[in-house]
């Protein structure tokens, strides 16, 4: 079977990803329109937003299994550098993004908070993996696991999975870019969930 399909499989909507490009599309236009009073400012803002979203430098912050997937994301096959986010900085001082990739334990949580604090603004956090999102598999008996990193630091994007595939992290990054761009991106619940819900015949 061909794994390396270079083209999207049937039914995949390429269009939706083009929200990434630095181009005013409808939704962005709406945002812009509302600010249209000060055109220059908006443009400058736009340019800087573009810069911010095109150059998100993550801090090298690997915690657990997900960190390996984070590495895989930055590695050959998925290459997060394509998004300009490949410049992993070892020090939080120069980073924009903290990818909390893995289980946040009680002992680590304070350190995580400190590292987050030490990052200069503007800064973002991606919670990667079930553990970082909500304790994941360690929810029930994890006496030493923080159930959700959002209890420690504000999280911008949640990337589900255990571990999330590299693609998902990339997708999360794109959602973060959307967020920086000033819009909340597209509807987030996958369509198939609601589709199936719709298919069920009504009672009565």
């Amino acid at each position: 079977m061909s794994r390396d399909a270079k083209t999207p499989p049937a039914g995949y909507d390429v269009q939706r990803e083009h929200m990434l490009d630095f181009k005013v599309d409808e939704q962005l236009a709406k945002v812009v329109e509302s600010d249209a009073k000060n055109f220059i400012l908006t443009t400058v803002d736009e340019v800087f937003n573009w810069a911010k979203l095109s150059s998100i430098w993550p801090v090298t912050f690997g915690l657990a299994c997900c960190a390996i997937e984070m590495m895989a994301t930055s590695a050959t096959r998925y290459d997060i550098d394509r998004f300009g986010a490949g410049a992993f900085r070892a020090t939080p001082r120069q980073a924009d993004l903290m990818i909390v990739s893995g289980t946040v334990t009680g002992k680590m949580a304070t350190r995580l908070k400190r590292i987050y604090d030490q990052m200069p603004e503007p800064k973002w956090v991606i919670a990667m993996g079930s553990c970082a999102i909500g304790g994941g598999p360690y929810f029930k008996y994890g006496y030493h696991v923080v159930k959700g990193v959002d209890q420690m630091v504000p999280v911008d994007v949640y990337v589900p999975g255990c571990p999330p595939r590299p693609e998902v992290l990339l997708e999360g990054l794109m959602r973060l870019q959307d967020k920086i761009r000033g819009r909340k991106g597209r509807f987030v619940t996958p369509k198939w969930v609601t589709d199936y819900a719709k298919k069920i015949p009504y009672r009565k």
Binding site: G135, Y143, K147, K184, A197
Partner: protein
């Protein structure tokens, strides 16, 4: 060497009173009086017929609620509820604590299992870290998680948890912490049904509601 033969040798060294032999188990094991364990280990290591130069594993065990006859009656441990709150119970644990040693000899290629059992209130076993350096960390871990103190250990600090941590998690009656040094350990109830009968689900980012945006 056969397990029985090893036991014979060990028994010869320690004298009969100090140990008991459980032969029919999946893995035969010798139960040793706690105060003799270091002695026994030294013997096992230094006797050239035995030559147990590797301590494969050292496990601390909380025997509370264990049913020897194996009817699956062990007590359920406490966790967090779905809402993320720590579960509590009135039950007080009372069983013994124990330590199991698994030994291996690179030269003789045989294994041996030792166990000691101490009362919960005593919870102190002599260290074997001078016999096998590797025991140092295992013992620290056992102290950390099960709360067995190892007498004579050079550096008996907690291993995995913080020094300030309360309780020993692998004890059967351990109650999960709700908060630790300002870090919330409890979960947040996420399982709430987002569809209260009256309120409509809303929003772009709202939970997966039935109102997807119109597709192109």
């Amino acid at each position: 060497m056969e397990q029985n033969a090893i036991y014979e040798l060990l028994a010869g060294h320690l004298g009969e009173g100090a140990l008991a032999w459980h032969e029919d188990a999946v893995e035969p094991w010798a139960e040793i009086a706690p105060e003799r364990i270091a002695d026994a280990c030294l013997f096992l290591r230094d006797d050239e017929r035995l030559d147990f130069n590797q301590l494969m594993c050292l496990s601390g065990i909380d025997w509370d609620g264990y049913d020897e006859n194996g009817k699956g009656k062990s007590v359920a441990i406490l966790g967090y509820t779905d809402e993320g709150q720590p579960e509590t119970t009135d039950r007080t644990a009372d069983g013994d604590l124990g330590v199991a040693y698994h030994l291996y000899s690179h030269a003789q290629r045989h294994k041996f299992t030792l166990r000691v059992r101490v009362a919960r209130e005593v919870a102190e076993v002599p260290t074997v870290s001078h016999v096998w350096p590797t025991a140092a960390w295992h013992e620290r871990e056992a102290w950390d998680l099960v709360g067995i103190r190892f007498a004579g250990h050079p550096d008996l600090r907690r291993m995995l948890l913080d020094e300030a941590w309360e309780g020993h998690p692998l004890r059967k009656d351990y109650v999960m912490p709700a908060m630790w040094e300002g870090v919330p350990m409890e979960g947040r109830p996420l399982a709430k049904n987002p569809f209260p009968a009256t309120e409509p689900a809303t929003g772009d980012d709202g939970p997966g509601g039935p109102t997807p945006p119109a597709e192109a």
